[in-house]
């Protein structure tokens, strides 16, 4: 269990700051359960000096009159493992120490439906619109795909390419506009591709946070539309070896998923913790209610190794991971030219009756993503903390065509290797008065290489550097946040002289721009808060937007890049109202995001006619657009153990020059859930029913797409989750039915919507088995 210097928690802690300069100082912070909720009544003790405190309802504690230097400190709470560590107290300010306690074992009686315990925390969470999926929620979702998990959040949808590929869409933006972070490092894959999913093992997630809207000041130019942070659980400390085995099986595509995690922290070496995880999944063809989707199976093997060591306020963390997958693409979506596409749309179902198979044949993708990460922090004299990280990533992607003309079928149609080295160095300031802040620099060096066959996007080499500063101030019921960042990106690319043929030529680009963020949160009494924020963000055009030239199979679109494209900028503002009390918790956000130079595909007047047939032609163009919308979620305790959940989101994308709606904007949607928990002596059971309603996208330019957006749909899901004692341990079992009524439907953001329905009913069964010290 590592100690963490949580930015947001220190914000809260800064409330309690008093006069600085005195010799004796204070130790203060917040104690949380590992799931994130603050713990009340935790005993915090300094054994040497027999001083102590008990945490309040918000998990906060404060011990005054502590002399500067290193002190042993203990956290004790019924039902939780005792946490002992060292706190370093500076001589000119308080020491802020936030900790997460771990349950001794998952106790049956602990699971009581309640909104108490984290009162107030959510109210001042962020001036931005943020959603968090906690460790406890993730335990119930174990084994599900990342896209499936993220799609449950308000304002988040997925752009899918069949059952095997889903990428997050936040407020209508995706791909290069949404940054996905694993363990704090931005995932560098071929993110521009709509059918390129994030390379993440969802089993390894301990917590998922989604930031809706630009977060460029903290995360750089890639975060113009939003951020998905997938963080592992904290590493254990001073604990014998233990772990979990997760299993899940799905009926529809006969998918089996398993993950084995082992972790420990040698008792003799306090501060040291490690974890190893191996996950795998294999799926055959999925089925809609009416037919099999040929060649939509996938297989995935992931390995993740992590270790950390800390002593006092210094520490380091290393992580190595590999994600590897082979996934099939539905053959019926691999069409020749636009006439083929129109014929397939007309038919409305596959031309072939497929039989279920586990085999994955071309067209398919092979992806291997490796990450090496080092991160460290040291306390500077005076109490500030210096943090640094260096990461290396390699993303190798090979795509195989349905048939390779005149070459070995084992040879990919194209392959790309993207290598990135990145790092940052930042100083996290100790609180000064009511201010806290962080400032730093970050850099990245990236190169993309084509393999021996095929050519999709040119080779390139890019160097990006940035400097940023963030500050926040808490005074009374107000919290203010400010941030500014400057980034510069240099790129050399090697397109062909005549785009599809000719010698390679060197082209260079340079972009420099500023991001900024200002936000404020006002607490309105004990149960309400209002947050507002404004952000400036930008993004340089991607290499595909500059140099793409060729047919996109599956949509029969001829896409042409524009090397003269300018920078894309976003100016956005959000307003969030939050409420939290014993009965109901909820938030609603309204936003508007005006983007200038928004890069999108605009149809050209003439189709491109080749010997292969004709293809509608699209060119990447800068345009001025407006994205506006709202999203909200509400959880109400209804009594008799029933809990109701409601979430909804609406987004409107408009080209402001023509007033035309933007393509591929998620349709309006709402999700309603009703659940109840029964607590018994030997087990507890939570049963939940979810109804998701998605409207038809009524905003589209008639005739601009090959087919109108599909009809709206309503799908029902059922989830049973039980924790029970068996074999001397507490097991978690889940039984779920997605699309319970086997409703045929097509989502507008499915890239296969022209050809086939989305998958039908799938029943899944999952089991989470702890062992060793995790029992």
């Amino acid at each position: 269990m590592a100690l963490r210097w949580v930015w947001r928690a220190s914000l809260l802690a800064a409330c309690f700051l008093s006069v600085t300069g005195a010799r004796a100082q204070s130790v203060l912070g917040i104690v949380r359960a590992r799931s994130g909720e603050p713990l009340e009544g935790v005993h915090v003790i300094l054994p040497e000096s027999h001083r102590g405190a008990v945490t309040g309802a918000d998990g906060s504690y404060r011990i005054d009159g502590v002399p500067p230097g290193d002190h042993e400190i203990e956290f004790r709470h019924v039902g939780y493992a005792v946490l002992r560590t060292i706190v370093w107290v500076p001589d000119d300010g308080p020491a802020v120490l936030d900790v997460a306690l771990e349950t001794e074992s998952v106790r049956l009686r602990d699971i009581v439906v309640t909104a108490e315990g984290h009162a107030g925390e959510m109210l001042v969470r962020a001036s931005r619109s943020v959603s968090v999926i906690s460790t406890a929620d993730l335990a119930e979702l174990q084994g599900r795909a990342l896209g499936d998990i993220l799609g449950r959040l308000p304002g988040v949808t997925t752009l899918s390419t069949g059952p095997s590929i889903a990428k997050p869409v936040i407020r209508g933006l995706h791909s290069q506009r949404v940054l996905v972070l694993q363990d704090g490092v931005g995932l560098e894959g071929q993110q521009w591709g709509g059918e390129h999913a994030p390379e993440i093992d969802p089993f390894a997630a301990g917590r998922i946070e989604v930031v809706r809207g630009a977060a460029s000041v903290e995360y750089g130019a890639g975060a113009i539309g939003g951020v998905v942070r997938v963080d592992p659980p904290d590493l254990p400390e001073s604990r014998p070896i233990g772990g979990t085995l997760s299993l899940r099986g799905f009926s529809n595509n006969r998918q089996g998923a398993a993950s084995l995690m082992v972790e420990g922290g040698p008792r003799g070496l306090p501060g040291l913790g490690w974890r190893a995880r191996v996950s795998g999944r294999r799926a055959g063809d999925s089925s809609t209610p009416d037919y099999v989707l040929g060649n939509t199976g996938f297989e995935e093997v992931d390995v993740n190794l992590a270790a950390g060591y800390h002593r006092g306020r210094n520490g380091m963390h290393v992580m190595a991971s590999r994600f590897s997958t082979t996934l099939g693409l539905f053959k019926g979506a691999h069409i020749g030219n636009v006439d083929d596409l129109l014929r397939a749309i007309e038919r409305g179902r596959p031309s072939v009756e497929y039989a279920f198979t586990w085999d994955i044949a071309p067209p398919k993708q092979d992806i291997v993503h490796d990450i090496l990460l080092w991160r460290g922090h040291v306390a500077l004299p005076g109490g500030d903390v210096l943090e640094s990280s260096v990461g290396y990533q390699s993303n190798r992607r090979s795509e195989f065509d349905a048939h390779a003309r005149g070459r070995d079928a084992e040879e990919p149609a194209f392959s790309l290797t993207l290598r990135s080295v990145s790092g940052d160095l930042k100083v996290r300031m100790r609180p000064r008065g009511s201010w806290i802040g962080v400032a730093g620099i970050s850099w990245q060096d990236q190169s993309n290489r084509n393999g021996e066959s095929g050519f999709l996007i040119p080779n390139y080499h890019a160097i990006t550097g940035g400097a940023f500063a963030l500050a926040s101030r808490i005074s009374g019921t107000w919290t203010h946040e400010f941030g500014v960042r400057l980034d510069r990106r240099w790129m050399e690319a090697w397109p062909r002289e005549r785009l599809s043929i000719g010698p390679f030529v060197r082209r260079t680009h340079e972009w420099t721009s500023m991001s900024a963020h200002a936000g404020t949160i006002r607490k309105l009494g004990a149960h309400w808060s209002l947050a507002a924020q404004a952000a400036l963000a930008w993004r340089p055009p991607g290499v595909n937007e500059l140099y793409n030239f060729g047919v996109h199979h599956g949509t029969a679109q001829f896409e042409v890049g524009d090397p003269t494209l300018g920078v894309e900028r976003g100016r956005s503002a959000d307003l969030t109202l939050r409420h939290e009390d014993e009965r109901w918790t909820g938030e609603v956000t309204a936003y508007v995001n005006r983007m200038s130079g928004f890069v999108h595909l605009v149809p050209e007047a003439e189709p491109r006619v080749t010997i292969r047939g004709s293809f509608p032609s699209f060119r990447y163009t800068n345009a001025d657009v407006r994205l506006a919308g709202a999203e909200g979620s509400l959880r109400v305790l209804l009594g008799w153990g029933f809990v109701a959940d409601l979430s909804a989101s609406v987004v409107r994308g408009t080209d402001t020059a023509t007033d035309d709606p933007l393509v591929l904007m998620p349709a309006d949607r709402a999700r309603f859930g009703l659940s109840r928990t029964w607590v018994g002596d030997r087990f507890d059971l939570e049963a939940g029913l979810t109804v998701q309603t998605v409207a038809s996208q009524a905003r589209f330019v008639a005739g601009a797409d090959f087919a109108n957006p599909p009809a709206g749909y309503r799908i029902v899901g059922l989830d049973l989750v039980s924790r029970f004692r068996a074999l001397g341990r507490t097991l978690t079992g889940t039984l779920s039915a997605d699309n319970l009524l086997n409703t045929p439907y097509r989502d507008y953001l499915s890239r296969y919507r022209y050809f086939v329905d989305d998958p039908g009913r799938t029943v899944s069964f999952g089991l989470l088995v702890p062992f060793g010290s995790a029992r």
């Binding site: 210094n314 083929d340 072939v352 080295v421 160095l425 190169s447 290489r449 095929g454 030239f549 080749t610």
Partner: protein
């Protein structure tokens, strides 16, 4: 430990700039793509040969030129189809012949002269189904007329080739203007 860590942090930041080499591609290795740059119909009747070609030097349609097919009324031509990838110097027709059971050409007359032309495929694959690399084109007797002849190559990957239906995977689709004299 603190004293050791600070220089370590800084040192790790430095070896960056030279981390990645130049990304200049190798002209002879990388980037080979498949193209079709030439589709040609060669028709012979009575010792005379008529050809019409669709030529696309870049393979991407930028400079596509399609010849007019000039035919004599009341004549039966024996035809062959030539398909080339001149960028990679490959005879695509030979590859089609190799995978004959997965391919079929469809010839569709159109325009005012549609009824004057009839095409019969003369070659067969191992399953005795038509291929279309060889065919006869019969132009009925009569006066001059204008029309078109569409040549389409369907690829049958998993849809069964039945000799009459087209597939959703069209490899070639060219419409030649036709003048009958």
């Amino acid at each position: 430990m603190k004293r050791l860590l600070i220089p370590a942090l800084l040192a790790l930041l430095l070896p960056v700039v030279s981390a990645c080499d130049s990304s200049e591609p190798d002209d002879h290795g990388a980037g080979e793509q498949e193209f079709i740059t030439r589709l040609e119909l060669r028709l012979t009747a009575g010792g005379r040969t008529v050809t019409a070609a669709a030529v696309d030097d870049d393979g991407d349609g930028t400079g596509l030129e399609i010849d007019e097919l000039v035919l004599d009324a009341g004549t039966t031509y024996t035809g062959t189809v030539v398909v080339l990838d001149e960028i990679n110097d490959e005879d695509v027709a030979a590859e089609i012949q190799e995978e004959a059971d997965e391919h079929q050409f469809f010839f569709t007359p159109g325009g005012a002269a549609a009824s004057r032309m009839s095409v019969v495929v003369t070659d067969r694959d191992a399953n005795a189904l038509p291929i279309g690399l060889a065919f006869t084109l019969t132009v009925s007797a009569g006066g001059g007329a204008q029309g078109t002849l569409n040549v389409a190559l369907s690829h049958f990957d998993e849809e069964p080739k039945d000799g009459t239906s087209r597939s959703d995977e069209t490899d070639i689709d060219v419409t030649f203007p036709v003048t009958i004299r």
